[in-house]
Each structure stands twice: as C-alpha cells, then as structure tokens.
C-alpha cells in the first residue's frame, strides 16, 4: 500500500489548492523540506486528519475547524477546507476525502457553524462505513508507528518504564498483534470452566436424586392412571352400547303396545290412590256427620230441657240415628248420655218411646238427600255444608274408582296376551341402557378435558396431560444432570475447557515471544546498520516491548540520546516486520534527535524500513547539496520545498 498524492485546500498554512505527489518504487523517498514554522508539521497533520479526523495533537484547538482553516482564506470570506489523500492498495485506487465548510448563512462563523464531510471512494465507488474501511488497513491505534515526528521518538524509549505512556504503547502493540482477543477468550473460558467445575463438584445428595426419581414415578403412575381410567371407561362404554342395542331391539318387539301398557300402569298405579281417596272421603263423612249429630244432639237436649216446649219440640227436634243412639245409650246406662245425670223411670220410659219411634226410620249415612230431608223434617236450623263437601268428595272418589276399574279392565282386554310388566320392563331397560351410554360418554369427555388440562393447548401448564409431560421432562432433565453419566460429561467438558485455557494462555505467551523475537532480530539488524557499532553491544527486549542496549556480557549500556533514537527506530522496524504492517512512513524532522555521527547511516537505512518514505526535514537537517542529501538522493523520487509567502500562506513547490 502506498500514498499516491495529497491535495489540500485552505488547509492551515496552505492557502488555496496544494498538490503533492509521492514517490514510490525504487526511489521511494519523497523529500519535503522546509524551515521551522513553514508548515511541515501541518502537512503531517493533514495526513493524520484526512485518515482519522484527528491531527494527533493533544491540544483541542488543533482539531477545530477554525484552527485548521487557512486564516487568509477566512479573511477573504472563504470558509471551506479539504484534504484528499489518494492511496493505491492491491491495484485499487482509494480516494479519501475529508472537508468542512461553514454554513452559507454564517458571515463570521463559529466552530458550531461548520459542517463536516467524509467520503471514501474505492475505484470511484463510495465505500460504506469509511472509518471502518480505513481502520482495516491503516488502523489508527498503530498510526503512531508510521506517522510520527522525530522530536517524539524519545517517548518510545519510555516503553518498559511502567509509566502511563509506557502502558499505552504496550497496549497499542498488543492491540496490533491481537493479544487482547486472546486474553478475553482465555478469561471467558476460565470463567466458563469455573462454572462447569462448580457444577461438576456440586454434591448431589442421594436423597435429592431419590426424590426426583420418586416424583417422576408418581407422574408416570398418574399418566398410567389416566390412561387406565380412559381405557376402563372405553370398555364400559362398549358394553353399555351393546346392552343398549339389545334393549332397543327388545323394546322394538313390544313397542306398539307400550302406550297401552304405559296407560295401564298409570291406571294401576292410581288405583290405590283412588281407593284411599274413597276411604278418606268416607272417614271425612263420618267425622262431619258425627260433628253434625253432636251439634244436633246438643240442640235436642237443650230443647228437651225446655219444659215449655218439651212435647212439641221433642217431637220435632229428635233426630234420626244420633238421637236413637244417644237415647239407646242413655236407656242402657240409665244416665243421660249428654247431661250425665241419672234418669228416673219416667224419663227412661220417655226415652224408650222416642227410641222405638226412631228405630223405624230408614237412614243411610251417605244419603245426602235423606240427610237433608231429615234435617228439614226435624225443623232444627242447622248448616250441613261441612257434611256436603265430604259427601261430594266421596261420590267423586267412588266414581273415579269405578272409572279406574273400567279403564284397567278395558286396557287389559286391549293388551290381550301381552304382559304389561314385560312391556314396561323392556321400555325401562331401553331407557336405562341409553342413559348409561350417555353417562359414559360424558365421563369420557370429562376425562379427556382433565387429561388435556384447561389451557393445555397454550402449553406449559403444570396440570393435565401436557403439564404432566412437561413436568416429567423437566424432572428427567434434572435427573440426567445429577446422574453419574452427567458427571462424566461434565468431566469431559472440564478437560476441554482446561485444554482451551492452556491453548489461549500459551498462545498469548507464544505470540508475545514471537513478536519480541522478531522485534529483537530485526531491531538489531537496523541498529547495526544505522549505528555501525563496532562493539559487541546488542539490543535486548524487555517484557513491555522496550529495547535497551547491553554489552556482550548482558550489562546495560548507559543511555545516549542518539542511541536511544536509533533503538526506537529499530523497535519501529522490528514491530512493522513482526506485525506485518505494510505502508509508508511519514516522518517530520527525522533527524531531530539523531546526532551528526549517526545521521548519514540513519538516512541510508531509513528508506529500507518501509515501502515508502515521506520525510519532512528542515534545511538544517538535510541541507541542499550536503552529505545527508547525497546519501538520500539516489532514493529520492520527488523533492519539494515549502516556501512561505506570508504568515498564513505557505506553498509547496516541486524542485
């Protein structure tokens, strides 16, 4: 991957349009010389900004639109700036465009008035998620290893010093080599392994397992009970249906006479009732008659005692059998039956005469007409209505009874030889058989509902057939986990997790060691090439990827500024080789920290450390016609000079 060109418009000190094409191939060095304050650092910032929208400066102002927009252009009312970097990668052309401009309405724009735009085209087509796309081949986190300022080289020497910066650099290196993914994977596997181990070690009390199994057994029995009940009901239904068929057939044989038989049964059943009604009516008459007679008797006695009317009244008031019976009893006892006083002979004779008169009376207890007639004859005013109703009832009962007897007789004649009881029994049998079938069907339907559960179709209920099945499955799952087989499975899983843990753990270590080996090997090569060290000193890498110089006995050599810079360049190069980063390096003031004794070798080797080398030296670092330039010239394909026209107007001119 190489940078082809950069186009800037009103970018910082570069007013208007600025185009810089980069050299590549055999002459892979692009030299852009400029004195201090001419815009070298702003040029480096342009590359960082177009790639990451971050100039790399810690000062916020260097990332604000107002700061990055050329001031002269602003004064002229031009409030837009842009940077376009063209990159060639895998035979594709990638154009990275980033710009900002103030809203048209803003006359004196503030930071919030600027609108930003970022478009990446690959072979002319817009790339979705351009930030991610750029990070896929020029990850921001490693950018400081190929876009840097020579002045800052010193900071990389801090690797391994336990400082915050050291930690950041170490993390950046580890992110490049993907160590964090391995660490996360290992951490999570350890966690899963622990959970698995806890499960493996968890003691399963024998009682728990027994309880689970007992519950499963209970549910099994419940299922069997349900099935048995259903089976039994089904068998009963079959029998009942068979019985029903037989009963239906038997009934069909006598069905034509059923109505008569049924009527006969009704009549026969009512016979007793009618008989009873008749008896009741007779008793009612007796009761009513007796009451009536008693009333009459009382009146008779009263009349009898009344001397003034005795003859006349007695004659008229004596009444029938009651009178006769009272008289008879009084004569027999010699005591008045009503008054309970002893009668003298005269009175007894009088009673006898009365009694004899009455003996010839013809009186029927149930003869209403006779009663009425007698009542009228006696001349005693008496209400017989209490007697009339029982007599009417009696007459009706007698009539009903006779009617019943006639009906029974007629129905029996109609039935002929058919036996009424058999017909009725056939009918009852048929009805009962039908009823039994219906009851069984209902019982089966009810059981089906119970088996399915009220909401069984919704699933998950702990009742009904599905509920039982689900609960059983859940319990069987628990039993499986508790069983010795499950433990065996957990043990196998534990072994796999253990192996995975070791694989990731060892890979983290292997990866780190491999990277360190490459850094050390390549770093030492570069170090030797740059420094031409005749001694047997060599670089040693520490656990935090920091390089330090040691003598042949492994004793640390005291730091020197120049040596440190070369060591850091060695680290960069080693890291590039180890991580496979491909691409240009852009170095601002490359010799800032390199002393005169080493600068030529440094410049000689530097272009070999990357596919493309864009250097931004001052004239003092690499003077025109000087030895440093002579060293570089064979590799320089493009050379530029930054000219300053005013404080806010620099131009980059190709030489």
């Amino acid at each position: 991957m190489i940078f082809k060109k950069i186009e800037m418009k009103n970018w910082t000190a570069f007013k208007g349009d600025t185009l810089v094409e980069f050299s590549s191939g055999a002459k892979n060095v692009t030299l852009i010389r400029g004195r201090n304050q001419r815009g070298k650092t702003n040029f480096l910032r342009a590359i960082k900004w177009v790639l990451y929208e971050d100039t790399g400066d810690t000062l916020e102002e260097y990332n604000s639109s107002l700061k990055l927009l050329n001031r002269e252009a602003m004064k002229e009312g031009n409030f837009s700036a842009s940077v376009k970097l063209t990159v060639e990668k895998d035979q594709s052309t990638i154009e990275i465009n980033r710009s900002f401009q103030a809203r048209k309405s803003a006359k004196d724009p503030k930071e919030s008035d600027f609108e930003k735009s970022f478009i990446v085209l690959m072979d002319g087509k817009a790339v979705p998620s351009p930030d991610k796309f750029i990070n896929s081949f020029l990850a921001k986190e490693i950018s400081e290893f190929f876009l840097f300022n020579g002045e800052d080289l010193q900071k990389y020497k801090q690797l391994g010093t336990s400082s915050k910066r050291s930690s950041e650099l170490k993390n950046a290196i580890e992110r490049v080599i993907q160590t964090p993914f391995l660490i996360t994977a290992q951490t999570e596997i350890k966690q899963i392994k622990k959970l698995n181990y806890d499960l493996l070690e968890a003691q399963t009390p024998e009682g728990d397992l027994k309880d689970i199994r007992a519950r499963i057994k209970t549910l099994n029995n419940l299922e069997i009970d349900f099935d048995n009940q259903k089976e039994e009901l089904g068998a009963n239904l079959k029998t009942a249906e068979s019985d029903k068929e037989k009963a239906d057939a038997a009934y069909r044989l006598v069905e034509e006479n059923y109505e008569i038989a049924s009527d006969l049964r009704t009549e026969e059943r009512s016979t007793d009732g009618l008989e009873k009604a008749k008896t009741d009516a007779e008793n009612d008459i007796k009761d009513a008659t007796e009451i009536s007679w008693k009333i009459l008797a009382k009146k008779i006695i009263e009349s009898h005692e009344n001397k003034q009317h005795s003859e006349e009244k007695n004659k008229n008031h004596f009444h029938d059998s009651m009178r006769a019976s009272l008289l008879k009893k009084s004569i027999d006892d010699g005591t008045c039956a009503l008054r309970l006083i002893k009668l003298d002979q005269k009175e007894i004779n009088f009673y006898k005469n009365q009694y004899n008169d009455l003996k010839n009376e013809d009186f029927q207890l149930n003869d209403l007409d006779a009663i009425t007639k007698k009542s009228a004859l006696t001349g005693i005013t008496h209400d017989f209505k209490d007697l009339i109703n029982p007599v009417i009832k009696y007459q009706s009962a007698v009539a009903n009874k006779i009617d019943n007897e006639i009906k029974i007789d007629n129905l029996k004649k109609k039935l002929g030889k058919s036996k009424s009881k058999e017909i009725i029994d056939a009918y009852d049998e048929k009805e009962n058989a039908n009823k039994r079938v219906e009851e069984l069907k209902k019982a089966i339907a009810k059981l089906d509902v119970e088996l399915e559960g009220p909401n069984a179709k919704e699933g998950g209920e702990n009742y009904g057939k599905i509920g039982i099945k689900n609960t059983k499955l859940a319990l069987e799952g628990v039993e499986k986990e508790m069983s010795p087989d499950a433990k065996s499975r957990e043990r196998e899983l534990d072994k796999i997790y253990q192996s995975l843990n070791e694989i990731f753990s060892e890979s983290i270590s292997d990866l780190s060691n491999q990277v360190k080996d490459v850094i050390l090997e390549e770093g030492n090569k570069i170090y030797q090439q740059m420094l031409k060290d005749e001694t047997k000193n060599k670089l040693k890498i520490n656990s935090d990827y920091g390089l330090e110089l040691v003598d042949q006995d492994g004793k640390k050599i005291p730091d020197s500024s120049a040596g440190n810079q070369i060591i850091v360049m060695a680290l960069f190069y080693g890291l590039k080789v180890a991580t496979g980063i491909e691409g240009p390096i852009v170095v601002d003031t490359p010799l800032a920290r390199i002393d005169d004794f080493n600068d030529l070798e440094f410049l000689n080797v530097l272009p070999t450390t990357a596919t493309q080398c864009i250097l931004l030296p001052t004239g003092k670092e690499i003077p025109v016609g000087g030895p440093a330039e002579q060293v570089l010239l064979p590799k320089v394909g493009k050379s530029y000079e930054i000219d300053k026209k005013s404080d806010q107007h620099s131009e980059i001119l190709e030489i």
Partner: protein, 62 residues
C-alpha cells in the same frame, strides 16, 4: 500477523488434541463482537459453551 496468530493457535491446539476450527471459532466470537456489556458477555459465553458442547457431542458420536 493474522497468519502468525493462526499458526500459533493451530500449533497449540494440535498439541492439546483440540480441533483448530474450534479454537478459531471461539476466537472469532470475541473478534466479531467486542462489546463488554454483561448481556453480550453472557451471549458470548453461551456461544462458546454451545461450540464446546457440540464438539464434545460430535467427538462422542465418532
């Protein structure tokens, strides 16, 4: 670097008698989702457990 990482992981997987694919799939779970939320963490653990259990089942089937 990806090649180096793959080679290292493969080599260590072979030495532990674990399929390289399983190790790579597990690594991919973390590379494809870098979220550290507790829900995502659980999801990742769940995926890994499933991968390992599937492997154990296929191993036992053989």
């Amino acid at each position: 670097m990806s090649d180096n990482l793959t080679k290292i992981l493969s080599s260590n997987a072979v030495s532990k008698d674990i399929p390289e694919d399983l190790v790579m799939q597990i690594l991919e779970v973390f590379k494809s989702n870098t979220s550290t939320s507790s829900i995502e963490k659980k999801n990742k653990q769940k995926k890994i457990k499933q991968l390992v259990e599937d492997y154990l089942e296929s191993k036992n089937d053989l």
